[in-house]
Amino acid sequence: MDIDFIANILFATIRMGTPLLIVAIGELVCEKSGVLNLGQEGMMLMGAVTGFMIAFHTDSLFIGFMGSVVAGALMALLFAVVTMHFYANQVATGLALTILGVGLSGFMGRSYVGEALTNIDFQIPLLSSIPFFGKVLFSHDVLVYISIGLAGAVYWFFKSTRAGLVVKAVGESPESAQSLGLSVLKVRYLAIVFGGAMAGLAGGYLSLIDTPLWAENMTAGRGWIALALVVFASWRVERVVFGAYLFGFMSIMHLVLQSFGLSVSSNLLATLPYVATVVVLVLLSRNQQRIKLFAPMSLGKSFHGAH
């Protein structure tokens, strides 16, 4: 096995993991504030279709991505209004948001099926020519860096900033946060919208960079995986990164093992990433106290304070 081959696998791992990482980071922030939004799939699809439509007309990936982010954020805003002003159940609202997003994106994108974007390469010129490391680290699209930067920023946000503490406090106990004079509503609004924006961005990654095309339901269940990854990570940023790449790596192994001629049912081999995630979580989650430390206590519960 030569070194280039390993580099290729790692490269593919990062590519598979990146959209998951982006959505999961957004959902993590949202959940840290105590809000469980199951609408990722809908928000991602809206981001994907909007980004594609805009990039198609403007020929600008950047504006396309902006569109993705805004579309995801708008969907999340709808979720925020319904759950926070009308106290609707978060789980049900999230699922309704997914149904709406799947329908709406399909409706909007009808005339864009069969269209393509001209590929724009995002390689970083000099650095990517370094052997091995250059390939693994630097010949990526820019969103890979953004996603890693985002993870770092969110990690720092929770670890070292007052605002991060505020979000955590709101997620722990909105009642006491409010009695301290924090605006639960404002914090949760921001967290939800951030989650939506990230889901939209990840959708844009799929339709603009990963496979630059629009097709209905093109997220193929990645929203659910991202949701599971946040739980997998026990609400810790560094573990979200680990989880997303682990899942990406195992998905690639499903394909790589086959190309080595391994004669196992491809359907059974396809369970690899799912089984691996469960097994790793089992190994990681034996210490209950540690998990409790990071899990937002008020997750999924409506907050009925004054506003």
Partner: protein, 374 residues
Amino acid sequence: MRIKLEARGQQSKLMSYASPILAALLTLICGAFLFWMLGKSPMQALHTFLIMPISDPYRIAELLVKAGPIVLCAMGLSICFRANIWNIGAEGQLLMGGLVGSCAALALLDSQGIWVLPLILVAGILGGMAWAAIPAFLKNYFNTNEILSTIMLNYISLNILLHGVHGPLKDPNGFNFPESALFSDWQTMPILLEGTRLHLGVSFALLAMVGVWVLMSKTFIGFQIKVLGGDERSAHFAGFKHKRLVWFCLLLCGGLAGLAGVGEVTGPIGQLVPNISPGYGYAAIIVAFLGRLHPLGILFAGLLMALLYMGGEMVQIHLDLPLAVTGVFQGMLLLFLLICDVLIGYRIIVHKSAPKIVKQSLSIEPPAVAIEGK
């Protein structure tokens, strides 16, 4: 002027019936607008969407056939959700029920007798229970969060099902296509209403509803589940065996979902195919909450969900509207239903001028609409 919601202090009986009606009205208005925008007659479109699926006995039977598995899953899920167990895995449990039931059916392909079908059903139920036992075991002994394990198990069970139907379970005379042999008459659900597909399995949904209702309102274990869902610590102080409740809730849900799955393969499908479920297990989650986790509410919510699916087909057939439009319509109706439920616990107050935020109003009691309140 400023509009504000104020807690009622207790649930409004009137509103718990009126809010779905209000939601329906809002949806009708917005739906009419949506269809008008698309150049269709709003009245005709709404009629096709909402009335046509229940316009004759055949269609009503179809509605029940469609609602059956969703309601069964949602009944099981409601028990889990009341106990604060976040089981997202009804889909996988359903698929496993269908798969294991089909294995039994294929093993008994030549058997005849009245005992064959019950045996298959039991196999299906056990399959679903076994699949639900995994997250229960992992949660109880390894603290593994069930949201993750159940989502992942959904995908795993789908792939195992695909493996079975592409491999060992496929029809030996079927040119290697991914379908099992057709089940015999002894192995399929009896039809309750000739000329339709209304089969025995649908009545299980009703039985499950009664069973869940009795369980939750008449038994001690139902009480324990509610306490556990309300506050885990007080359940602990009361000496309830937490692990046993987790086992109970998940196995019950798995059994019901498994029954739904085996009911599909021995009912309207009549063989094992790769697509047993078009996402019934996921639809059941939203149905459970739309029904406010109450058995009767779930029944109605399940029927509504089935109506929306069938209505979506109807507008495609009769009005040439694409499926995506029906997704928009469905999402809209579901959101309205969720929004209007606020009126059960709150009343709308219109202030003439914007009031200052009063800190004291913090102490209002949370209403019972939210799941944690039950």
